[in-house]
């Protein structure tokens, strides 16, 4: 479930990146690569688990599924927070700088 949610997040981010390419004003490429990196790692984890458990891997207990669902959404939220932090630090369109400068002018 975590793998599926992360993979869907990676696909959506890739579509958004492709729509804006070759420009990358929101640095969505970072988000794409992060989610794809995690998806590939979980895919390997899934394959190893499948080799150990067999078909049972595809029939998890409902409670495990619910836990994985929460984990998947938490992972996506954390990925988005990580991306926001990078975006605000890099500030490619100087939006934060503009807001701070305008705030400074208003306070005077």
């Amino acid at each position: 479930m975590t793998l599926l949610i992360t993979m869907f997040a990676a696909i959506v981010c890739t579509i958004i990146w492709y729509k804006n390419a070759p420009e990358d004003p929101w640095k969505t490429s970072i988000l794409c690569l992060t989610f794809w990196g995690a998806s590939l790692m979980w895919l390997v984890d899934g394959i190893v688990e499948y080799m150990e458990m067999g078909a049972e891997f595809f029939a998890p207990a409902p409670l495990d599924m619910l836990n994985d669902l929460f984990l998947g959404f938490s992972v996506v939220a954390l990925g988005l927070i990580l991306w926001l932090v990078v975006l605000f630090i890099k500030d490619p369109q100087n939006i934060i700088k503009g807001v701070l400068l305008r705030g400074g002018t208003n306070s005077q």
């Binding site: 590939l40 790692m41 992972v75």
Partner: protein, 138 residues
């Protein structure tokens, strides 16, 4: 248990290589760089081309292992206190952890690197095709 440590280690190595290339790029004087370009030792776009591609790998490795580490925290396999990895506290779990690192961890690092290699190869082919089309048009 701690499979994410292997991709993290690779990410550290890739980041160091990236920094070394960045330093080399700055140190290269223009005459030397021109000679290298003429001899075909470096691509026309310079070493920054290699760095750009390395960034893909390092972002995938850092980002992926960060999210994977979070999963381990979620499952209680990583703790914020010593020894940080719960499996490291007893020898039996430690052996299992090392086994998992050498199988799943290595497989993860190799798989991500392979996919990155394919991405670089495909982008190189596409870039060359684009350049060829542009030259044909001219």
């Amino acid at each position: 248990m701690a499979c994410f440590i292997v991709p993290v280690t690779e990410a550290v190595v890739v980041t160091i290589v990236d920094r070394v290339i960045q330093k080399m790029d700055k140190n290269l004087d223009t005459v030397e760089a021109k000679e290298e370009k003429q001899e075909g030792k470096i691509m026309p776009e310079g070493k920054s081309y290699i760095r750009k591609k390395l960034r893909w790998l390092s972002t995938m490795l850092w980002g992926g292992s960060f999210l994977l580490a979070f999963e381990h925290v979620w499952h209680g396999e990583v703790t914020p206190w010593f020894p940080f990895l719960t499996a490291a506290s007893n020898p039996a779990d430690k052996a299992e952890m090392l086994y998992e690192m050498s199988t799943s961890g290595v497989a993860m690092a190799v798989f991500v690197t392979t996919i990155w290699g394919v991405m670089v190869l495909v982008s190189r082919v596409l870039e060359r095709k684009a350049v060829k089309i542009m030259l044909d048009v001219k």
